[in-house]
Symmetry: D4
Subunit: 226 residues, 8 copies
């Protein structure tokens, strides 16, 4: 059992790499910086002792969380827009098929960036395209060649979330849809695009949680793995 | 005052034609066929006496409601798919701009038909196009010329409701969006397309109630009146 | 293709004016001031080079967003109450029919003002009337002459949102209803007036998103264009 | 203790008349006709023995429930539209102030009738007016004299529920608002008018449950008691 | 017409006192202190000129709003807990029946206090009892004599909102129920007690909006007027 | 492994008795009578071969489901009101503490009966009291002695669900609260009492699913086991 | 353009096979049997003329819909449990990786079967395992070898929907989660498992619509294609 | 009557200890520090005069609330993470069965700690295990011996809330489930795990309010009392 107790605070799942083949992820929201730092220290020790290898992602990291990680893992990469801290800082050499991330508007960019960083650190080649909302459908159509090259697509959109349906109608590869909380009142913090995506009239769309760029990038990287 | 009491059952608003310029509408759901027949009789009398002129629409009419109307207004038109009974049966000669009705899928057709009949009997020229969902975006794009000719558009869609955003991004004319209750579980009886349409990322979309083809056709006819 | 890339941040739709006949709008919420400034700079260049002409609206602009725009487009108009920045600052000479904006209460005024500025900069003559809630129905009735003159009406209301039904029952012109998030607990951030307006018992009402004054003004300007 | 056991099926609250001054009410929905009949028999015995006096109301009674009551209380009054069975069949001589019931549309009539029968059997004079929706606001205004005479008003409305706000803005007496489940999709079985009424912009409105004509008539009768 | 324009900001309804018999109320939330001050100034002028008489209530007043009112109406009463500013500061001599306000917990006190101040300034005698939640049912039962004396009751409760049902089962007088937003997560900002109160198994309960102490006190004062 | 395959239809968990100490339960809703009969046959074989012993409960059983079970287990007990089929038909000799089931109204009786049968067949002594809603609080108080004797209480209530709070305020033993779908519109199929119970102002209440009498009886039997 | 008009009823997207590489699907709910038959006839002609090749799926087909299809395509396969009609009846020779479908309970079987048939007719090898809910976690763990062999997994579950999280924590392959509408009241027609799956604490889960076995099987087949 | 008035602010229920056998609890949220201090003073006097004995818990206490309590009860224990202030500071000597608290993730720890402190001060032995989410199911299975020893279990989980189902499937003792508001958008502040837990496919789960660690610990302590 390679689980690793942290004095009643957390129990790392260091087997996860071998069991599922993917990095350890630490969800920072709701944790104190002290708790996050203790986890980073435990990871540093585990890597040092050879107990584990591979990547760790700290998601939903505030500036304070990031500082706590860097105090223990000094070369960790902090992507502030994506609210991610990644260690080691360099992504692995890309393998598998291309992950294409389509972001409906600039306001959705932080979530799209979280997906892009995640997919890259899971080892996939990634291309990110911004501001291709369906209000100007020609912008989407102009990306058809890129869509055709993808092994997995991530569509990040708030408001009406309609981009997922349009892309799924064009693509051969599976679409991972990430609704965002961007929008006016009746977007209801992301419920509107969430429902749009769940009801996409084209098949081939799998939906993840609102604003969950990490989850979207992870699933796309798994799909494009082979 | 041309209001017309019906023995504690209903009070017709016969001034409406002159006040608002549009037909009397009788919402049948929740009324007994006897009540609907009494209303039809009152209308027949009012037309006979010259108290009023112009069209009457019986909406959400079951087969029983329709029979009750026809018993009093024998030449009334019953469009079963649209659940409408209209009298007089012939629409007026079309005036104003073209109303284009775009229907995402065949399952949405009854609502689209209700909109089409309503707009025609309010005096507008109407064209209805079926099965132009965004899952095959080329179907929508193939209608660009028709979209450009419209003075008002009605988009009828269930499921993801994404058609409204795409059309509004293409059109110069206002779009009236009618969500339908067509779809799987998380369409929630039309909530999903309703929210999509309220959150359309392109401006120029006004939304009416779920499955309210009558309301959609009415509003479009008003917009295209001039 | 007149789309204009902004280094992975945004892609302006400069064709929009010719395609749809309406101004470019930039939704600022969720964008950094730096991103907004980059967009303003790109617009300035496009206008300078003759790539585009016509109006640009920056919606949901904070004070910081506004400063960023003004840094690039110094004579832009910042309407703080409406949270709008508009360029060029002068609206075009009014054409088309009158847009009448009825605002139920003073607390709804920022949204109504957003609608008014938008409609004016889309080129319509506009009149704005404040504090005509249905709790004092004589205030609404006192505006009948104005209502009759309108080519399109915008009703802005929170709480019970009942003004939309009453106005639609009086008006010949289409009503654009804008629910606001004003009100006590069970207004649920605008859901209560949103539902009221979707269920308006008078036909002729098209609803836009909660607090979406921009959308309401835009749709009314389109309706009153001819 | 005048509670009266019914073999593990129900326990009548025969003190209620003296304690609260109002009739016993038996909610029939979810009870078998046999259970309802057993309750009717127990009531018949209690009246016969002088244990209690005064009225009993069987609410939400199906035709089968009604037959079960009549089998034990043969002269009971069954109002099918209101789904009420009342015993004794004659209301008491009216006392207290006038209860005015305003019903927005004919489809709301069953609920309004339930309120009217309830208030009459609680001993109040009652007037019921049908089809005074706000889409034709002159219909409401035409009732101002009646509204002024009321000691309590009941407003019964589905769809937008806007009638409650308008009436409360006109009336000196308290308004009891009863939302109904009448309407298109986004009325959501009465949620729309329920929210409208809770958010009435005029004070003086107390709301009861959706379609609860019994509750509305009861509360109005209490208010108008003195 | 005694309506009084405020330069496009608000339109006071000075007839309201004579029309409905109750004070003018100004809802402050969403208004700027400047707007509130302008309204207070207009009121001061109207009183000075004899255009109106009687009480004015400024509800949902922040400290800044209160200061703005006091700047124009120096002797106005500011009840900070109730978020009310009242002018004139002295309530009228009490007439009508007793209004009893029952408050489930101390955390509900601000809303209960808002109801109490409102009812007093509408001219009713008021008694307020705090901390009588149903978790200790003997506390409620100990108030039976007071409950029997009431002409109207106001029940203010968050969390389970069960107090309304229990009190209505004991009382002869109507109960006005005011749900509050007090409570743990699944109270959902007052939805839980709102629903409890709408579903009260005892008749005689009218519900007002969440946290709407003003509305609750107003309705109770109307009921107890005679 | 004592799991027992059923040709791709179901896999019985025959170890459950020894693992958790409680009976096997088969949820019938959504299963065909043929599938239920196959399960009953497999159980009959397992009991015959000594693979398992102890009770089996078929929950949510329609009349058709019940017939299918009885075809294989002829002496099984079918409680139609509770929609339960139990085998063997005799409950075990009671052990543990008393389970008291309090049912707010007669319409809640099917759910209360389901709880009672379940708890009895899990081996507990059970008492069921009907029609003790809080609208007549003296009915609840009259049961104080019984409440004091309980080792676990089950409160079954629809509408306002307030009984759970009142009982928890009186009882020393834990309360299992079962909301029912009984009630008018805004009970929303049991959401109202569900929320009331989750927000009970007295601690000591654990809530189970709407109409889940089986779950309520099961949990109470576990609590009262010792 | 190989779109094929059907007299204003539907427009087949016969290019879809070449564009997206997947079969045409016809959603039958809301269509009349006559409309479905017309579509089947058009398909038969298109296949006959060589306009298209490959599979067609009629989803959500009632018995009447199925008969309408078979009238035109006599050898079509009707899977009644899955509510699917497939033509041609034989699935293609399996290619790609294994799709493993895990079904939490027997009541979820129709949805799981719809996923299985869909994936098979998209050309994947499929294994379906029934009744592996997390209440007996050893049943899931007993399938680890099968889970390890999958190229894509489909988890079909109602009620708590917890199976998706557990499987995703064990699997290397992506998980497609299909919530079902099976369960007691607070499952809310599938909302409960839908939310559980969207909130799966293990990454690698993509969610489709409630009861959408077709969508789940389609997405899994796409993922496992290579 | 040992109720103790606090000048219209609160009424302590000092009989509660004898009546229900559990400590007094003061919910601090929504109370001012002054109100909380007055309550603490009243408690100090009651203890001094022998009017009451035993523990008092101040729940949802901010730092300011805690300071107010300590000013009157200087040796009170303030657990900041749990937001609890307890007096007297030492828990009683443990009696009854073991309460085992399982916490899915570190972010859920504050709620779990609130449950642990509560159960300890109600007199039960407690063990708290952190970070045993179902994403690594082996972590849960590794605790089977501890689960078997429990007299009551508390499962604290946000996001998917799936831990409750898994634990209930393993345990003989009742499970108290506490959903937390931890998670991404579609966790909806705890609604997702709340629904999961109410729909647990294993019986034996009683659910308390979102983030209500106090309620969870209290109920578990009652269950494990004997």
């Amino acid at each position: 059992m390679a689980d690793s107790s942290l004095d009643g605070v957390a129990e790392l799942d260091l087997d996860r790499g071998s069991r599922r083949g993917y990095p350890e992820a630490i969800y920072c929201e709701g944790k104190t910086p002290e708790q996050v730092r203790a986890i980073a220290r435990r990871l540093a020790e585990a890597y040092a002792s050879g107990e584990t290898s591979g990547t760790a992602l700290f998601t939903r990291a505030s500036v304070e969380h990031a500082a706590a990680v860097v105090a223990e893992l000094p070369d960790a990469l902090h992507d502030e827009m994506a609210r991610l801290v990644v260690w080691p800082p360099e992504p692995p050499t890309p393998t598998g098929e291309l992950v294409v991330i389509l972001c409906a508007g600039t306001s959705d960019l932080p979530v799209a960036q979280e997906a892009a960083v995640t997919a890259r650190h899971l080892g996939r080649p990634v291309e990110l395209v911004v501001d291709v909302g369906v209000a100007g459908i020609h912008r989407v159509l102009a990306r058809r060649e890129l869509i055709d090259r993808a092994g997995a697509l991530v569509v990040v959109a708030g408001m009406d979330g309609a981009l997922a349906s349009v892309v799924a109608g064009l693509a051969r590869a599976p679409v991972v849809a990430v609704p965002t909380s961007v929008g006016y009142g009746a977007a209801f913090g992301g419920i509107a695009p969430l429902l749009t995506m769940l009801n996409a009239c084209a098949p081939g769309v799998g939906v993840v949680n609102i604003d969950n760029g990490y989850g979207g990038g992870h699933l796309a990287a798994q799909i494009a793995a082979r």
